[in-house]
Amino acid sequence: MGRLLDISQVTAGYGSITVLRNISIGVDAGECIGLFGPNGHGKTTLLQTISGLLRPAGGRISFEGTDITGARPRDIVNAGLIQSPQGNTLFGDMHVLETLELASISRRARRGRDENLRRVFDLFPQLGERRSQKAKTLSGGERQMLSIGCALMCSPRLLMLDEPTLGLSPRLKKELAGAVGNIARSGVPLVIVEQDVEFLLSLTQRLYMIEHGEVIREIDRANAPDHDSIMKLYFGEAVH
């Protein structure tokens, strides 16, 4: 049994623009990892490629030992590899409950629908209160909760969160961080993209720093650098 998710030498981009260059990342069973790095350097592109929204030009992606390179998004969801995308606007004209129910449309998620729904409302009681409200009328924080809730409705075996606290107030950010911690403790392996390295270190075992579509540094929680050297790493090397 190899790794849960194994990304090996993947190259991908948009048309003639190459964004990811021979990137290799792995997640082991029961592990949470973090991705960080300056804006526009390929973190979202990597998640889109893993989810099958972008077809890699080279390399191999496997999940639970099965090759999923170039597979259809539907089949990847069916395998339990789920993503809550960045800045998600979901389905503006659909109600919260309708959206959550729809999110369990995949074959593997259908069975656990009622239990997952209970779990989502336990995790985000606010969503329960707004169950018949249209998604477009939700606040930014509530939208983020709905997006994570949808991902949970898919019964994830691995959950990728792309900047779950983007643009939220410090208070809301803390609340969502708490919820993400809850999900991690419930045993769902996570891949979290975030700019806040300390936040990532509190939730994950390992961090990858991504710059120019490559992993330029791997950080273990056990020997994580202190705050100052992280800041230096970030701003010292990122600014051109």
């Binding site: 929204l53 539907r74 069916n78 995308p85 389905f91 449309i105 991902a151």
Partner: protein
């Protein structure tokens, strides 16, 4: 006087039912894919011809004929999506390109029908014989069936899109393709279902209309234009608005025919459409944002 008015309103109701069934098909495709299908009227015509072939030429009976016409149109709709629309997904000019490709499909279907079935006028028998009188205005029982069937069909499509997961997934794909894919909805399948459903509606309408009007290769052109006026008038997107607009246009058309005659009616309808486009581009029922 009152009698003519009632007769006019009733014939407007028949027209409205026809337009509602045609326009709701256009609306299903628009809300799911964001494209406009110009072959919609031609698919209606195919429904009528296939119904005629199965029912009259092969002698299998009208109901089997109507079912075959509906199915044939649905399959052709899926084929059009596959060959003429799908290659352009994600293209910046998709809307414009598909205007041309679906127009091409319309021409191919019309010319094809002319080659297969010839130019001689054909007509289907009626589902039931006899006439029905509503407040003194008489219509054929067949037209009465159309009037009753149209709202039932619209209601079931609406229920389908609101209650069932497949129907909801069509709405989801229309609102956010990426998010839809990420919760496991098969986006290309959703597109095919939308086209198939829409084309089935067109085919069924054609098969039912084949008993009232003559079946010709160009019989779909006029209903398509009217359905376009309806969706512009009602605002694209909501099925309820489309249905409401269909009945309003049907009744206005009947009244215009009464007052101005057949010659000037299309002119006034188009004028109305332009006025709506200028002053309320999102349609009479559309939100004004």
């Amino acid at each position: 006087m009152i009698d003519t008015l009632i007769a006019t309103l009733v014939s407007g109701l028949v027209l409205g039912s026809l337009y509602a069934m045609m326009a709701s098909g256009l609306s299903v495709i628009w809300t799911t894919l964001g494209v406009f299908n110009f072959a919609h009227g031609a698919l209606m015509m195919i429904g009528a011809f296939v119904a005629w072939t199965v029912s009259e030429a092969a002698g299998l009976g009208l109901l089997v004929g109507i079912a075959s016409g509906t199915l044939a149109a649905a399959l052709l709709g899926v084929l059009i999506e596959r060959l003429l629309v799908r290659p352009y997904y994600g293209n910046r000019n998709m809307l414009l390109i598909t205007v041309m490709t679906t127009l091409a499909a319309m021409i191919i279907l019309e010319k094809g029908a002319q080659m297969i079935w010839g130019a001689r006028l054909k007509q289907l028998p009626r589902l039931v014989d006899g006439e029905i009188s509503i407040f003194g205005a008489t219509i054929s029982a067949h037209e009465a069936i159309l009037v009753v069937l149209a709202p039932l069909i619209l209601l079931s499509i609406w229920r389908f899109t609101v209650r069932t997961n497949v129907g909801r997934s069509l709405r989801a794909v229309g609102q956010n393709q990426r998010s839809a894919a990420l919760i496991g909805i098969d986006v290309p399948v959703a597109f095919a279902i939308a086209f198939g459903l829409s084309a089935a509606l067109a085919g069924l309408t054609g098969a039912l209309l084949g008993s009232i009007r003559f079946i010709t290769p160009s019989m779909g052109a006029e209903p398509l234009v009217k359905a376009m006026i309806v969706v512009i008038f009602g605002g694209l997107g909501s099925l309820g608005a489309t249905a409401g607009a269909a009945y309003i246009i049907g009744i206005i058309e009947a009244l215009l025919i009464l007052w101005l005659g057949l010659y000037w009616t299309p002119f006034v309808l188009f004028l109305m459409m332009i006025v709506v486009l200028v002053f309320r581009p999102t349609g009479i029922f559309g939100s004004s944002q």
